[in-house]
Amino acid sequence: MQSRRKFLKLGAGAAIGGLAVASLPKTAAAHPSDETAWDETVDVIVIGSGFAGLSAALNAKRKKLGSILVLEKMQVIGGNSAINGGWFAVPKNPIQLSQGILDDSPEELVNDQMIAGRGMANKEILTKVANRALDAYQMCIDAGVEFRKDFNIQVGGHNKARAIRTKHGTGGDITTKLYEAGRREGVEYRLQHYIEDFVRVGDKIEGVVVRRGYRFPDQGTGELVRIKANKAVICASGGFARDMKLRAVVDPSLDPTLDCTNHLGATGEVMLSAAANGALPIHLNMIQTGHWGSPDEGGFGWSNALLSIGWHEGISVSVLSGKRYMDERTDRLTASTAIMNNRYSDGSPAYPLVFFNYNDHPDDDRVVRALRDEMAWKVDSLEQLASKFNVPLDALKKTVKEYNEHVAQGTDPDFGRKMDTAKVLKAPFVVSRIWPKVHYCMGGLKTDADGRVLDARTMSPIKNFYAAGEVTGGVHGQTRLSSCSCLETLTMGFIISEAIKANA
């Protein structure tokens, strides 16, 4: 109860802050409920153009809800979905069935998600989402999305192989096709439209105040216009992992030195504006971090793939001591903590190194791409490694010598690592630097199972107001499983458009 009050206060503060910095034109500021003040009216406004926004817009159009307008603040369509890994969990997908996996079901998926959610996930929503997985898959296929042939695997936390992946290994394969399908079917998309505020009258969201012609991240750009939505405003604005201030407020344990896998526009202002208008934010402190990041590339990058070799076959050493400092195969949280203990005396990160034998993987895609893009390097000797990354050479040599003995014995007396995949280290090496990155916000706006946003004071839906995707909270609980965001966002487009149809 106390945290709820805190959030309401935070919301109100954000609203006042927003008004103070914005120079609202007279029509927008003076008569917030004056219908004549609208610059434009449409039937449905969708905020954001990632998986959730694109699917909601396309499904709303197909449900004949009228004119559909997608507002995207960036200069590209697709949000974080356009750059994600393109993993998509679909129980009973055709590839899974062709692999002879016949005992999977939506219930099986939900069970896995409930375990990962550690009691904080929402079974009703997860079930509704899982039951529509094949619809979302079919929408992609119909739009021309290509998935990897015969590729369906079991990813972390799932008990069945049910994750398919797009052809190029990025969600862009899906966002581009859904965008193009929407354009063909009459959805209107506008770039550089920043949501300044919602217009709430009584218990209803009537429309939005938008900064048109906005140039990210410059708040002074663009002009304010007011757009009314006859039937719905759908908030699909994504997560806030790039909002350093909000991140620090909701989870002070998140180190400010942590970079982020998300696109630069993943900031939380739309969610905060919604909260300022009464929406209930929950679980905001639940933020997922990956311990596999590289400081030498932007976004998610290749590091995760490279370390799938490095953690197993190589070692991680501190540049400060030349020594190993953790079990390279430990869990995410333990690894993140150990990695972040590596600091110079001024507190700045002393990025630890991970290295493994080059000659074991010269043609491996993961190595070729990493070297090409200069987020990893080939070194010919420990001497070269030590001088390039300023590691104490003698200590480094001792570390490798001792480790190689441990590999031969098959045990790790220092950290208790499982050594079945470890290899004797022998130059040349592939070496990269590591530091964790913030990845996904489980928390956000509380909705009911139809995607209707709940009012914090009444716990009932705010009329005409819906939300889908990473901007929502309480769906996944403590941690979201890989490949389940794509599923949730695409299916919520079906669920929300049906709810609007029923309410309209």
């Binding site: 990025t170 581009t176 696109h263």
Partner: protein, 121 residues
Amino acid sequence: MKKLIMSLALALAMVVTAQAGDLVTIKGNTEGRSYHKSLYEEGCNYCHPGSPKKQVTDAACVDCHGQINDIEITKHLKMPEANPHKSVHYNQGASCLACHAEHTRKAPVCSECHRTWFDKM
């Protein structure tokens, strides 16, 4: 006049393969692209209809250069997949302004992640 400019620009485009050119001083403190010099003779109106303060839209670029997927890239690409005009992330869904600027050099949106693939343009 607009037609003439367009056909001039198109002719130019065919010769020089649609590069907007280097940044040069146009007038006073204003810099612009060398191949756009003739457009500036009309003032700012061609790109900023109504007022120089008006936000430019892609229409100003597309009029002469065509749609994103149709514009061939003649610059050396790091690899064939690094073609931002046929990007697996954005394809048609990218504004020209995501990567290009007229009055200043700009880092393309792709370089947020792919740091070694693209230069400032």
